[in-house]
């Protein structure tokens, strides 16, 4: 199920040839694979990303492994602002990944829905190795 890097979105020439900002776009498939108010995990560029679909329909994406003890963030409970890790209830801002409860932050990704109702994730590559 987890989507490998797929066909590029319309804005992006090619996924293997990163655009100047070093951002790769990934289409992770249709949004309706995520029920409203829940999250699902995806493997992207060898990273685990939790994508959430808020009850207002918008999307958020954070790294999927809790910095506390490795809890599955995609299984967390969310509202419009935060996700709460299911293991020990640390809370993380869905927008920034910063913890509201004193844990290390999660990485935040920008994510949106395209015209075909697919999830599009931007992965900014900050390492130069690729």
């Amino acid at each position: 199920m987890s989507a490998a890097p797929k066909s590029p979105g319309p804005m992006n020439p090619s996924p293997v040839n990163p655009c100047p900002t070093n951002t790769r776009l990934h289409t992770l498939g249709p949004v309706d694979q995520i029920p409203l108010g829940e999250g699902r995990a995806f493997g992207v560029d060898g990273e685990q990303v939790a994508v959430f679909r808020l009850r207002d329909g918008t999307l958020r994406a954070l790294s999927a492994v809790c910095p506390h003890r490795g809890g599955p963030i995609a299984d967390g409970t969310i509202d419009r602002q935060v996700v709460i890790c299911p293991l020990h209830q640390h809370a993380f801002d869905l927008e920034t990944g910063c913890s509201r409860t004193g844990a290390e932050p999660l990485r935040a990704y920008s994510v949106r829905e395209d015209a075909e109702q697919n999830i599009v994730l931007h992965n900014e590559m900050n390492d130069v190795e690729n």
Partner: protein, 838 residues
């Protein structure tokens, strides 16, 4: 000291050499003195080492009374956790005793063989229980006889609780009818023990009040079911290896299984005596808290004698700690301790006692104002001299206590009409008292919080009562000052006090308590969690922390009419399994009453084998747990099991533990297994504010531990059944209260169901029955549930029936996932399993 070859090792190199501060005694006074020293920049001046005889960080000794009575857990009373010592770079030698001080070479010698040098020494060794001379207190080996307890430390308290909870222990004698003795008696009573207090004085609490008050106090204590013997001295503890009773002078022996000695305390001065320090009744100190004639040794707390006084309460030591810290750090060399005026309160729920100063008039010119109403247990006595209060005793009515304590403490001028000291007669009420208090007045004696500290906190932007309490710790001791704390905060906030948000709300995100929330849901016909947020949350904002509680409440209220939004559930309830530390799940199939069959066992074995289940474990709830199942395998595991869910994951009815019962057991008087299975079949899976664990035992030997269950049933002689509620034996231990004794197992089911429904409707979110039952009171529960005093029994039964009827086995969702990807893994790259395979 430091040679050039030494390399700087610490990460925080210090400018000058720091002096070595050593503290002997890690109790309330020692730790408080260190806190005050740190608050005056002591960390830069000193490297601090503390020795404590007890194997813990500092805890609030006062609260041991509440721990004994089960109102608090022993985990909640710590004032300084071990990490506090670490964070403040304090070396703590816990469980280590200091045996000797060499004041000439400035070293302390401890019983772990360590020799520690000091520049400044603080002695804070406190006191210990006094064991008055009587026969049979000790075994020939010299240790205290099994079943005899002091009441001073956490360990004393834990041992008492353990002893009291052993089933065959039913009777206790408390020696001493002062504050400590009465608190011990009340604490033991709440473990279902019969308690008698033996007091050598002519009336109870004779150190704090006169005979008139004592007589009324006695009635109130006896009303709690505690027997009182005054003017009786215990002469011997009976029993060979363990306690079997006590002998009294001039009276008959009393049989008992345990004896608690609360006959006063004695300062711990052996160390000081041995080390050549001046000791009279306690260690003699001057107004700077310095041990007499010693330049570098200070002492603080119950182990000191100051101007001839030895104190046995905490309030004086807060004042002492401040003066001591001012001198040790040099912050204020003019600071002096001039003694304390003490007031005491009894921490026994339902018996309000406060006392301060004189018991009665002593000079001809003293005014004495007395009010006595024995039938209500109310007694008030106030002694006034030169228009100031010099003594007061208040029983059974605490409304004026805060004001009187302050008036006594501060010597406030009094109103002309003395009666307004005792009653609110339109005269100066509590508020005027608060405004009049001066800044330094202590509001919380337990934690030494002044009015000024509270006012500053409020001015600093903390305008809720609970916020100010958290920030200052005011009201977190014995709790008796909470009213005054509230008044001070309200006064300081000038009416702008914010109501404590979370305090009364059912869930944090909706500003309503449970009855109002349920009412609003009904009136507005709200059916789902998102509808509740839209209609009732401020700004219609969703709140993740509130979702699970709302989902549970709605399901309870609406049964079939509930619109179930899966995102409102916790992950366990979304996938009907319990999440484990590695993100896998545990699967516990239903095994009603802990009874299984060849077919079930074979099927479970096959499933475990097929799915390579890493750990198969018998649970404490008498069923079989398959651990380490990846989420995506759950549906297949359930399909292969083809057994219903055991609900080992939800805030819901969990399981009924049963004993073998009368068909096989030679003691059994009732068919506990059959009844347990019937109860589990009826109430399986119903959701509740917190989990419900049940048990049925076939006789009072209680092999299924029914007395420590949320609902526990015990068969007794004559085909009757006892029903206990509100028990627990997890992080918190409580013996359930007897709700009813009935003849018919059907009646058991009705009453159990009615109790659970009442709990579902009335309890706060996550409030276990062990808190709920004492909060509303067993008499009230009995009235509502057994006697139908409120006329709601039929409605409760009907509501429960509706929940029972709407039960669907959640594991049915295996064939037809309710949401897309319901069982999709959330940790695609983790190597599983991580649970150790045995």
């Amino acid at each position: 000291m430091t040679s050039v070859l030494d390399r700087p090792q610490g990460r925080h190199p210090v400018a000058g050499p720091r002096r070595r501060l050593v503290v002997v005694g890690n109790g309330m006074a020692g730790a408080r003195a260190v806190e005050e020293i740190l608050a005056r920049g002591g960390a830069d001046q000193f490297t601090i080492t503390m020795f404590g005889d007890e194997p813990y960080g500092n805890y609030n000794r006062i609260m041991l009374s509440h721990v004994l009575s089960g109102e608090d857990s022993d985990a909640d009373i710590f004032l300084n956790s071990l990490s506090w010592y670490r964070e403040n770079s304090i070396t703590l030698h816990a469980n280590v005793r200091v045996d000797r001080i060499d004041k000439f070479t400035k070293h302390v010698f401890s019983n772990d063989g360590r020799v520690t040098p000091y520049d400044t020494l603080i002695i804070a060794t406190g006191s210990r229980s006094h064991m008055p001379p009587m026969d049979g207190l000790y075994t020939p080996g010299g240790s205290v006889k099994h079943g005899v307890f002091g009441f001073r430390t956490i360990d004393d308290t834990r041992k008492m609780i353990q002893h009291a909870q052993q089933d065959h222990h039913r009777r206790a004698v408390v020696i001493g009818g002062g504050l400590l003795g009465l608190e011990a008696a009340y604490g033991l009573k709440s473990h279902g023990i019969e308690v008698e207090v033996v007091h050598s004085g002519g009336h109870l609490m004779n150190a704090q009040m006169g005979p008139d008050g004592g007589a009324i106090l006695r009635r109130s204590v006896e009303a709690l079911g505690i027997r009182v013997h005054t003017s009786s001295r215990t002469t011997a503890v009976l029993g060979k290896d363990r306690v079997s009773g006590v002998s009294l002078r001039d009276r008959e022996d009393i049989a008992c299984d345990m004896v608690v000695v609360a006959a006063g305390i004695r300062p711990n001065v052996d160390l000081a005596v041995l080390s050549g320090l001046p000791v009279e009744r306690a260690i003699v100190v001057d107004d700077r808290l310095r041990v007499q004639d010693e330049d570098d040794i200070y002492a603080v707390g119950e182990c000191i004698q100051h101007r001839g006084e030895v104190y046995g309460l905490v309030a004086p030591l807060w004042e002492q700690a401040v003066v001591l810290a001012n001198h040790v750090t040099g912050a204020d060399p003019s600071s002096a301790y001039l003694g304390s005026r003490t007031a005491t309160k009894l921490k026994v729920a339902g018996v309000e006692v406060a006392s301060m100063g004189l018991h009665g008039p002593e000079l001809d010119t003293d005014e004495h104002i007395v009010f006595s109403e024995p039938s209500r247990g109310v007694f008030k006595s106030i002694v006034v001299r030169d228009n100031k209060i010099v003594g007061a005793t208040l029983l059974g009515d605490s409304r004026k206590v805060a004001y009187l304590t302050q008036a006594y403490d501060r010597g406030l001028p009094l109103p002309e009409e003395r009666i307004s000291l005792m009653f609110d007669v339109g005269g100066p009420g509590g508020d005027v008292g608060v405004a009049e208090l001066d800044d330094g007045a202590q509001v919380c004696n337990c934690n030494g919080v002044s009015k000024k500290a509270l006012v500053d906190t409020v001015k600093g932007g903390c305008t809720t009562v609970s916020g100010a309490m958290d920030a200052t710790r005011a009201g977190k001791g014995c709790g008796s000052c909470k009213l005054l704390v509230r008044q001070v905060v309200e006064w300081a906030a000038d009416g702008a006090v914010e109501e404590d948000p979370a305090a009364s709300y059912y869930v944090p995100g909706i500003p309503l308590d449970k009855p109002s929330l349920m009412d609003a849901i009904r009136k507005q016909d709200l059916r789902s969690v998102s509808e509740v947020f839209t209609a009732l949350a401020p700004g219609s904002a969703e709140d993740a922390k509130s979702k699970m509680g709302l989902a549970s409440l709605l399901k309870m209220m609406l049964a079939d009419h509930y619109i179930d939004e899966r995102d409102a559930r916790f992950i366990n309830d979304r996938v009907h399994a319990n999440i484990q530390r590695d993100g896998t799940f545990s699967v516990v199939p239903q095994m009603k009453g802990g009874v299984t069959s060849v077919q079930q066992l074979r099927r479970i074995a096959d499933v475990a084998e097929k799915h390579n289940v890493p750990l198969i474990k018998l649970t404490g709830g008498q069923r079989i747990d398959l651990l380490g199942i990846p989420k995506e395998d759950l549906p297949q595991v359930w399909a292969d099991l083809d057994m219903p869910s055991g609900y080992a994951y939800g805030k819901s009815f969990r399981t009924v533990k049963t004993c073998v019962g009368k068909d096989f057991c030679r003691y059994g008087t009732g068919d506990s297994t059959k009844l347990g299975i019937e109860i589990e079949s009826r109430f399986q899976g119903i959701e509740s504010p917190a989990k419900l664990k049940l048990a049925v035992s076939g006789c009072p030997r209680n092999c299924a531990e029914s007395l420590v269950k949320d609902v526990g049933v015990v068969a007794v002689e004559g085909g009757r059944w006892e029903l206990y509620v509100g028990g627990a034996a997890g992080a918190h231990i409580r013996k359930g209260d007897l709700l009813a004794t009935v003849d018919d197992p059907e009646e058991v089911k009705v009453l159990a169901g009615r109790f659970m429904q009442y709990y579902r409707e009335q309890a706060n979110w996550l409030e276990r029955t062990y808190s709920f039952v004492p909060r509303v009171g067993i008499e009230h529960l009995r009235a509502v549930i057994v006697d139908d005093a409120e006329g709601i029994a039929a409605a409760l039964d009907a509501a429960m029936q509706e929940s029972v009827d709407s039960y669907v086995d959640p594991w049915g969702e295996r064939d037809d996932p309710l949401t897309p990807g319901q069982f999709r893994t959330s940790l695609p790259l983790t190597v599983l399993p991580q649970v150790p395979v045995r």
